[in-house]
Structures are given as C-alpha cells and as structure tokens.
Amino acid sequence: MVRWEAVIGLEVHARLLTRSKLFCACETAFGAAPNSKVCPVCLGYPGALPVPNRTAIDLAIRVALATGCTIHAESVFARKNYFYPDLPKGYQISQFDKPLATGGSLEIATRDGAREIGIIRIHVEEDAGKLIHDATGGATDDTSLVDLNRAGTPLIEIVSAPDLRSSEEAIAYLTRLRQIVMYCDACDGNMEEGSLRCDANVSVRRPGGELGTRTEVKNLNSFRFLGRAVDFEIERQIALLERGERVVQETRLFDPAEGVTRAMRSKEEAHDYRYFPEPDLPPLVIDVESISRIREGLPEMPGPRAARYRRDFALNVEDSETLVTSRELADYFERTIAAGASARAAANWVKNEVLGSCNQCKVELRDFRVTAEMLGETISMVESSEISGKAAKEVFEAMATNGGSPREIVERLGLAQLSDRDAIRAIARRVIAANAAQVEQFRSGRTGIFGFLVGQVMKESQGRANPEIANQILRECLDTEAR
C-alpha cells in the first residue's frame, strides 16, 4: 500500500522570443556586453514610462491558446514591489489578480495512462536584470556587479495545478510544456541560458487525505535538477512526517552540487509584494478577432500530433513522441512521407539514422545535408526495389557527408538493384552449372543448401540482385529445369 502521495505543482517562466523588450524598444540579446541593451525605460529613469510590446502579448496568447486557456478580454498589469539591485524601478511589472489567461490544461503520459494536468493561469511580466557575483564577471569579494540587459525582457509565467504526483510526471509535464512553447515560436526552450526556468511546489499527504504543507523549490534549470530536487524534497518531507515532525512552509533552493534543497527564506521572511494595479498602463484589452487570428496561425501541437501518428501511421507511443519532440523534426518526418516514403520506414529512418547522424555530426536538423525530400526519395527507392536497404544506408551516408541527389549517388556508386528477371535467370543458371555438387545435394533433399546457392547468385550479381527475385528464380530453375 502506498503510504504517502506527493502533490506537485510547477511554476514555469518562459522568456518570450521577441526582438525588443516588453515595455521599451531595447534589443533582447543574450550575451551582449553588460548594460549595452538598456534605455531610460528599462533602467527605471525618472519620468520614463512603459509601453507594451504587442508582439510579446501575441506570443503569450499563442501559448495560452495552445494550452486551452481562456483569454480574458481585459487583464491588468500590476506592480510587484521589492527592493533589489537587479530591479531598477523597485517594482516588477507583472500581472496579479487579473492575469491574461486562466483555466487550461495539457496531457501527459503517465504509468497509468494519459492524464490531464491543469494550468491555473498564464500571465505576462518583465524579467529582472542579473547580478554578477563571481570574479570572472568582474566582481570582487565585497562588491557585486549589475547587468541590466535582461531587465525588462518579456516572460510568461505558467502556473500548473497541483496535479502532478511524482518527479517523472513533473518531468513529463515540463517536457510537454517546453515543446508547446517552442511549437508556438514563443520561447526557445533553452534551460541552460535561462529561457525556461522552473520552480516546484512540493508537498506530501496520505493518499486521498488533506493537502500537506508545501515548500517551494527554486533554481531548477534542467530536467535532471527538477527530478532530483523533487525526489529529494518528497523524501525529506516524508522523513520529517514519519519522525512526527512538521514540514515548514518555506522557499528552498536546490543545490545541484550536493543534490539537496536548502531553506532560503521562511514564510515569515517572505516579501510582502504589495501588488497594486500598474497606473502607467491601461488594462490590456484583447478583442475576439485577434484571438481568432492568433488561433488560426497556430501549428498542430505535439500532443495531438503524436496521437495522429499513432492513429494514422500505427506508430507506438515511444516513436510518435520521439518524432514530435520538435516541430522541425515532426515536419521533417511528414515531408519524408510526402516525398514518397512509407510512414513506418520514414519513422525508423528519422529516429535512427537522421537523429543519430545529426547527433554524431553535432548539427541542427535545419543544417543537416540530407533533406527530408532526399531521404524520402531514398526510402521510396528501397520500397520500389530499385535499391536494397543496405545500399540505401550507403546512399544516406554519402548524402550526409557530401550532399547530392540519391539517384545520382546510386548511379555513381552502381547501387541500383538488379530486378530484371532474365538477367537474374542467366546468373542463376551459371550458378547451377558451376555448383553441380551442391545442386545435387539440394535435389536429394538437403534443402538447407539453398541458402548457399542464393548467396552465390547475390555474389555473382555483386550484391545488386533483388534478393526476393533471386530467391524465386533460383527455386524455379532448380525445380523445373532439366537435370
């Protein structure tokens, strides 16, 4: 019997892929010289006012629609007040009691089948700047430096319902959510650079019982850290409760080096953010027309796309999920089919050869020399028996290294398969004539020797004979022709 059940909710921050910041025209460049992408607005100069970037709002709406949220006709920006050097105005412009969107969900695969995970809200806010504490960045023992390039870049915060029950489910949720924001072209999904950041709220309870006290774990910038932090936190809380102690509501920080979470601040030390409506910005009004325009521009999302592959192409869960990992990959897969490949073969080639080759050569799919059209043509040549499967691998390798068209490579390397029945019959006769002893053995009932004779036909054809036809014709010759 399960003695404890974990209850997990994630707060995910996704940096929106806009050219300029949320409330000013500064560029949103990653890795630029410190404090080079700043202006009076994002530096919080006196008298400078925020003006919303409509593209950021549209991207946020894309994600909200893709997760089935209700977009509110009117949402309100609010000031979240606290002092910190990375926050130039002394408040962050965010949304509070009237967020952009609420009430969505996404589906994840769990051990017990697919499950809907609720999304409570999605709101738009500006990012803070960055503090540099290490010497390589120029800081010293008693001074830190501030880089405000990131200050004011647009984020969305996506808050899940506490519907997740294990670290695997948390990872599955984050995986799917990351795919969705990337499918929407709303976020590049880069966790290392902090484009996608995640905090986890974790509590444990007796199955079906009242919710336990939760802790919030911050600084989870990879799937692995999320998994480890959640597992650590679940175990820590269970151990506390089993010892008869209590879980303290607090914010904790994950330390990847030690694999532990540590208390950062208690509930009593929590900031009082004193949210109130941002008077410098009118309510954000979103009309029905722009919602439908944005909805029409959305691509098919990974969940439905994978389901379609299972339904239409009879792929299994694992293959269909692999293929929808990114929109580029799924598009590549579908274009391979459009170029003449069967779905099954296309799936195998894409997930094995294509991904393998990209990984090995460390190239992005978009830069890979073998286009979906080239792959599709290659596979279709196999499927119409123009070349063998083995030859197809050679063609693929050649294209991956030097490019070129599959037909031209087949021609150049002489890889075309021999399917001419008369030509194969002529070879079969030569093989029969040259291997009288083995033929005799076959005819006397040692049918096992047939494989050897087929091998001789293949050898004689320099491997180009269509094996199926060779088999068939050799049998015909052996059975019907004069002894």
Partner: protein
C-alpha cells in the same frame, strides 16, 4: 496686458505674434526675460535652476515660427529637460541631468517656445506650499511672507510676477490650480491622458497630469493646443483628437448650466463664501443657469486621495536607490545600508512620511481596508461626477478654502496642509479637467480663485467659460503690487 512692459508680463499670444512678424527680436526678448528673472529671483525663489547662459542659448535656439514662436516658458523642476538639471527639489536628485526631454518640452520647442529655467516645487510635488523644497521656499509675489501654494509654487510665482507669460506645472491633487489661485493666475489641469506624462517624474501616476499656468485663458488654450495629444511614449495618453482650443474660446457661455455642490462652500469663512457667491452672480450675468448637484461622496475625496496618491508614490519613488543615478550615500556599505542611507539622506521628511503611509496602505492585511476601500470610493466619486455632468455642463467650486497662508503656518500640521486640497482633489480622482481662474482680491489684497470642473475632454468648454469669466472682470486681471 500692456505691450510695452517687460516681455514676461506680456501674453504668449502677443509675443509669438510679434516674433513671427519680426517686430520683436529673439535677442531682445531673451535679454529682457533674463534681466527680469535676475532682478526678482533672489527675493521670490521662483526658479531653482536659472542660468543666464543656458537661457540665452535656449532662446537663441528657438525659432521664429510656430504657435509659441519665441515664447519663454518656466518649467516645474519635475519635468525632464535634457542637459539641464531635473531635481524635483530633492537632495536625492540634486545633480541629476535627464538624458532626454519630456514630450511636452519637445512639443513646446517644436512650436517655437524655449525653456527659461526650472521652477521650485515641494519635493517630488508632495505638498501644498512649496515649502518642502530642498532649495528653500518660494515667496508669493503678492506677499513675500506668504506661500505661493504648491506644489507647483515656483511656476505660479514666475507667471504672477510677470517673469514669463506661461509655465508648466503638474497637478496630482491640485498642485496647479491651488498655487494658481494663491498667486492670481489661471491654472489648467487637463483631463488625465490628454497631455503626455512622459518625462514627468511620477508622484502618483493615476492622478498626475501636466498643467498650465498663464495670465489668460487664451494663453492656456494656446499652450494646451501645443502639448496635448496622443504620445507613443505614454500608453495612457488618449487618441481623442486635439480640438482647436483657441477658436473654442469665442462665443460666450449664455445658456450654459453650471452646478454647485451643497456642503462644499457654505461653511467657508465669510470672505471666501461671499467671493464664491459673487462669482456665481457673474456667471449668471453671463447667461449661465446655476443649479444644485448632489455629490454625496465628495467628502471622502481627501482621505481617498491621500491613500491612493501615497500608495502609488511609495512604488514610484522606489527607483531612487542611489544605484544607477542620483545621490548615493558615501562610503562602503552593504546593499541594505546603501538603500537605507541613500534614501534617508536623500529624501525630505514629507516625502518619507508619504512613502511610509503609502507602503502601509498597500501592506498585506491592510490593503483591503485602505487601498482597496479607497479605490472603491474613488470609483463612487467618479460615477457621481459623471452622473452630475448628465445634468449640468460644468461644476463650480472654490479652488481653495483660504487665501495664501503664511510661510511656516501649516508646516507643523501636515493634516491641515492636506486639507487645503479639499476642492481640487476630486478632479484628479475622476480624471476630469478643471481650471482655476482669478475671481477676486481679498480684503488683505490677496487673490482668490474660482474653480470650474468639466467632464472628460471638456477643455474647450472650460476654457471658454474661463475666458468669459475673465473678460467680465476686466483686463488686466491681476497684477501683484511691486
């Protein structure tokens, strides 16, 4: 207004006309303004930053075309002007130079006007007397022992003393209209969203509006026509087209209905009450029907105003941390010490008081009781005013409960200082336009103002009524004794 006195004592309309015609040289004009300011400013302290060289350069750089060709303008020192100081009369910004001009400054320059200098104010516009200035108080040109009002006291004094024809101020709870009344000039607070706040250092963003001081409704109209209109740098500016305010001045106000609010003026001292009643008589003589309107929640205005204004101020002033600009406490210190010391040393007592009050009003556990209820009451006041304007064209009220008080009189008693905004705060809470026009002189020879309020974007009507009222008083309206 005479065309022969010092240039600053003439109207903006006549100066720009003569500059465009070429009968008034910029050089002469500039010299005249500089002389006048240098002669009077030590005594008045209307300007806190006045540099003859800068003023001369600004005048020379202005052009002889446009609606305000050659017109010198005094600018409250919480409005950003590039290259010169913008201090908000605060120690924390005592050496701050803005990297850019406020939108209003750009528009004035495009119309040919030039900035003569920056005027005194209560620190960050928080006050009603211009005594809360890091640079010392401004004197009322009518009586130097008295305050000019505030917070835009420097601008009001500069116009009243004839140093410049027009000036910009900001009005959050009456900071243009009250000093206009105390100094005997016309003060207009436009509709919230009518004039860009970009470059105005924020006190309370949902209430702040840049306003205009002038010695006539016509000059107010001239300047408003230049600075009003949508600004891509201020998301709260309206896209409502800007009408021709000057042509709206013509035609008189016969047939107009003006509402008065019971309980707002009957209890004033005799002189203020009699003056208000006399103003109503003048309006009636101009053909106006005066009726009563009910605004039951108006009495909440001061309480509501000080909660909302201070709450917003507590956030707006958080940026002054000594890190990126402005004064930073000297020496090595931790982050927390840096915040505490820079802000402790940089802000004056009134600013600190308001930041603390505002922070409290937004705090967890007190929010609903203070900020939440104030927002609710603000909505009620706004709705009542909207309803009232369904029945009348304009509403008339005194601008202030008293004439200009003596320096130091209310410094020790913040509450009584706050109460001097009783008639002006409602227009800010509702975001509607209002104007104060000189109405009379008290027995002590001090100016008294009449305030008119209109519905959103009713500036043309307000200005027409102000022009009609002013003409019935005779010209010149008011010139302080020298």
């Amino acid at each position: 207004m005479s065309d022969t006195g010092p240039v600053g004592a003439r109207s903006a309309a006549s100066i720009s006309r003569d500059v465009r015609r070429g009968t008034l040289a910029l050089r002469t004009l500039g010299g005249d303004v500089i002389d006048a300011v240098e002669k009077r400013n030590d005594e008045l302290r209307a300007f806190v930053h006045f540099d003859a060289g800068e003023a001369r350069a600004a005048c020379d750089a202005s052009h002889a075309e446009g609606a305000l060709a050659g017109v010198p303008i005094a600018v409250k020192d919480n409005i950003a002007t590039r290259g010169t100081l913008t201090t908000c009369a605060s120690r924390i910004l005592s050496s701050y130079r803005s990297p850019n001009d406020a939108t209003v400054i750009e528009r004035l320059a495009a119309a040919g006007a030039w900035v003569a200098g920056k005027t005194n104010l209560d620190e960050f516009a928080m006050g009603s007397s211009t005594e809360h200035s890091a640079f010392g108080p401004t004197s009322n040109p009518w009586d130097p022992t008295r305050v000019p009002g505030g917070s835009s006291g420097g601008s009001a004094a500069a116009v009243a003393a004839g140093l410049v024809p027009v000036a910009l101020g900001s009005d959050t709870g009456g900071s243009v209209r009250q000093p206009a009344a105390f100094c005997g000039v016309t003060g207009l607070k436009p509709t919230w969203g009518r004039v860009s706040r970009s470059g105005l250092v924020a006190f309370a963003s949902s209430l702040d509006q840049i306003g205009i001081f002038a010695r006539s409704a016509r000059d107010c109209a001239r300047v408003l026509g230049v600075i009003a209109g949508h600004d891509p740098r201020d998301a709260t500016t309206s896209i409502e087209p800007v009408p021709d305010y000057e042509s709206a001045l013509e035609g008189g106000i016969a047939g107009l209905s003006v509402g008065i609010v019971e309980g707002t003026w009957e209890t004033l001292d005799d002189e203020m009450r009699v003056c208000f009643e006399r103003s109503l008589t003048i309006l009636r003589d101009l053909g106006v029907t005066v009726t009563h309107v009910a605004l039951p929640s108006l009495g909440l205005s001061i309480a509501v105003y000080y909660i909302i204004a201070n709450a917003e101020a507590s956030a707006n002033l958080a940026r002054f941390d000594g890190i990126r600009y402005g004064r930073r406490a000297e020496g090595d210190h931790t982050l927390r010490e840096g915040y505490v010391r820079s802000r402790t040393e940089g802000f004056g007592d009134e600013v600190k008081r308001r930041i603390m009050l505002g922070t409290f009003a937004l705090s967890s556990g007190y929010y609903d009781e203070y900020y939440g209820r104030a927002q609710h009451a603000r909505a009620m006041i706004t709705a009542e005013l909207r309803a009232a304007f369904g029945g009348v064209d304009l509403i008339a009220m005194p601008t202030t409960p008293t004439v200009a008080f003596r320096k130091g009189e209310k410094l020790a008693d913040p509450l009584s200082m706050y109460l001097s905004d009783v008639y002006t705060a409602p227009a800010n809470l509702a975001g509607i336009p209002a104007i104060s026009v000189p109405a009379a002189l008290s027995s002590e020879g001090l100016p008294i103002g009449l305030q008119l309020l209109g519905p959103h974007f009713a500036e043309p009507l307000l200005l027409r009524a102000a022009a009609a009222f002013e003409s019935s008083l005779g010209v010149p309206v008011m010139v302080p004794p020298r």
